[in-house]
Amino acid sequence: MPPKRQVRVGNQWMRARDAQRALEEAIRVANEEDVHGGGHQQPFLRKYVFSTDHKWIGIQYAITALCFLLLGFSMMLLMRYQLAWPGQPFPMWIARFLGQSNAPGGVMLPEFYNQLGAMHGTVMVFLAIVPLAVGAFGNYLVPLQIGAPDMAFPKLNMMSYWLYLPGGLLMLLSFFVPGGAPNSGWTSYPPLSVIATHGQTVWIIGMIFLITSSLLGSVNFIVTIFQLRAKGLSFMRLPFFVWAQLVTSFLLLLAFPPLEAAAILQLMDRVAGTSFFMPSGLVVSGTPLTNAGGGNPLLWQHLFWFLAHPEVYVLILPGMGIIAEVIANNTRKPLWGYKSLVGAGIFLGFMSFVVWAHHMFMTGMGTAISAFFQTTTMIISIPSVIILTALIMSLWGASIRFTVPMLFALAFLPMFGIGGLTGLPLGLAAADIHLHDTYYVIGHFHYVVAPGTIFAMFAGIYYWFPKATGRQMNEKLGKLHFWSSLIFINGVFAPMFIQGLAGVSRRLYDGGAQYIHAKPVLHLNVFMSISAFLLLAAQVPFIFNFFYSIFKGQRVGSNVWDATTIEWAATTSPPLAHGNFDVLPVVYRGPYEYSVPGHTESDFIPQHVPDDAAPAPTAGGGMLAAAAVAQREA
């Protein structure tokens, strides 16, 4: 008879807590030997800089992307200061940092405002959110969730990161070229962008780096998901997060190339004097242009938005994937409507290619084509609603664990709802006449991306931090971060709808102060800017928590959330450095087998555990418990 409440480790009986420590020690030793064993110690550069390990590449992406996120955020703060107090000088230390060429006497120049606007958008979309959502979360988790030892093409993966980083740095360097950073909006519409200052050329070259990085990455993701799924892991057993990454990768694969082509054309227009986008007869500052003419500015808009619309679904889909995982785990129930989620995701991806001209309703489009794009835009709201509904219905009857990731996930639902609903009037050509290029648009898309996607990113960070580090982030700080962020982010973006409906245009250096119709809503600028500064303050506990917990966070076991998916249940925290798993897992069931009727030993069954060896519950020790049970039964 085994001693009561003890498990066998090797040839010893010991208490569960001691067993857990013994296990972790064994893992640490194994990982050490894994790295240094057999004389195959990798040089530092190869292991940490030019790594081909998807986990480390994911971390590289995460850290780089989070830095860009903070940078993009700072650019917005500078803009919001100017919007709230137009023409007022910055505090001394900021003014000195900005320099006389950007803010003489501490007062922001309109040209610099334009640079900040274009760079804020570019940095946030291309350097922060997508690299975080796809490069970081996707890279780290997809091979783990499908039971693969790495991505299909590890070297290509490394190249993706090493195209992203130089591209991003090049973009930032544009602030220092004569004329400053690109200033024609993140949308870079010609003819303005063609005659703009040098920074625009830097933008184009940076984009070529980033697009190439993205293309290599998307090929990698799709091949990995199709080819490296574990035995037994059919498509309808994939975690929704993997489905989301798969659809996202197809969007990136097929939608980016037209922008790459357009970027080449714009580059030629700028440096080789071609006229792809330059109509005849242009006069700039009294001087007629000397190029041949005959080009079409709308051509750029078509090629740009052909990418940029699918791009917004690239921004949201991985976030939805993360939310789905967090909700399933913290409701202890399978997701409601898994098949609908998958179908809606695929349909959404497909439709995203045929709605782009709803960004062009005000370009003099004909009636037939307007009607076409309005129709497709209305149709595309359906899969979004299906996904949101499925996620909300997943809460029904659940015993919710209000962990920090779950708080962010719950907030995502209404925030994305607001973002999505406010998109509807924009998709109707008639309503768009009034709302196009106003603050309403800015409010709409920020609701989707900021309290939408970024909250999903936070949920993901709090959720998977223990997997990547073996430690948990502090819960109190997390809750403080959550509540303050939620309040202040709404403070920043909700008034934008009001300003937009009043007719305040976007990209105005003075926030509308010169327009009579803006006067009644001008005071909201101050409210929004103060909210933005408070939002910055709200991130401090998060940043502190993140770094502190890496070193001093509470150590937890390999499956702290008692999750069913392979990355949690079938490998250590952090996962084994070399190949993720000792033995590639085999999958026997779907991804969300929580609270399975008839299974009383625990409220979850991991995907990779055969029927007859389902684990008993232990605090955060799924894998340990499985082994313990096996030992007990042996």
Binding site: E25, A26, A30, G37, P154, N220, M268, N291, G579
Partner: protein
């Protein structure tokens, strides 16, 4: 069975791992998809290339159909040279697939000859292209002259860059053929197949570019 390492699912601390992680289905096809990784990868890449050239074709269509005046290709461009180039590229498609066939037959020497022929055809294509371009430049015909030349140079230029890229890969395959064939024969054969697929695509683009630019 006595050390604590057994809990870690049989991890043997003493086996020497090389740092090359073995990725399944790199060489042999996965049964349910019927593909090896590289083949799926190259087709996906080619799909993205279809969209890349598609954007440029779309540009050409828009600019040409909206222009009151647009010259015929045969009025300005060198049709005989371009026809020769078409033959050169088609021939190179044949040589590369013969290279792959010979690898599967185990005939390394013949395969290398066909790879070399492919590379030489690529050179031939680029030389003819250079003659075309320099002739245009000497007549002061540049991309900036008008959109006929703009689209001509961008389309053929991007295509030419793709030819160059392919040639670089073929040169690499030729240089490393002996070593790879000796140690990783199947993987090498796959690499030639995959590069061949890319090369056929480059040929395919030219098959459309040639009539659209030169003959219409």
């Amino acid at each position: 069975m006595d050390d604590g390492h057994t809990l870690v699912a049989g991890h043997d601390a003493h086996s020497a791992h090389s740092h090359e992680i073995e990725i399944p289905f790199t060489v042999h096809a996965r049964p349910d998809t019927g593909l090896y990784n590289g083949k799926l990868g190259i087709w996906l890449f080619l799909a993205s290339e279809v969209m890349l050239f598609g954007a440029l074709f779309s540009t050409l269509v828009l600019l040409r159909t909206s222009a009151p005046v647009w010259p015929h290709g045969w009025q300005i461009l060198n049709v005989p040279l371009a026809t020769l180039n078409t033959f050169v590229l088609i021939a190179s498609s044949v040589t590369v697939i013969l290279a792959w066939a010979n690898l599967r037959l185990g005939e390394l020497k013949k395969a290398k000859i066909f790879l070399l022929l492919t590379l030489l055809c690529g050179f031939g294509f680029m030389i003819i292209k250079t003659i075309e371009y320099t002739t245009k430049f000497s007549h002061h015909q540049y991309p900036s002259t008008n959109n006929f030349f703009g689209t001509y140079f961008v389309l053929t230029g991007l295509h030419g860059l793709h030819v160059l890229g392919g040639m670089i890969v073929f040169a690499y395959l030729l240089m490393t053929a002996d070593k790879w064939y000796a140690t990783k024969r199947d993987q090498f054969t796959n690499r030639v197949e995959v590069t061949g697929l890319y090369w056929h695509f480059v040929d395919l683009v030219w098959i459309f570019l040639f009539p659209i630019l030169y003959l219409l």
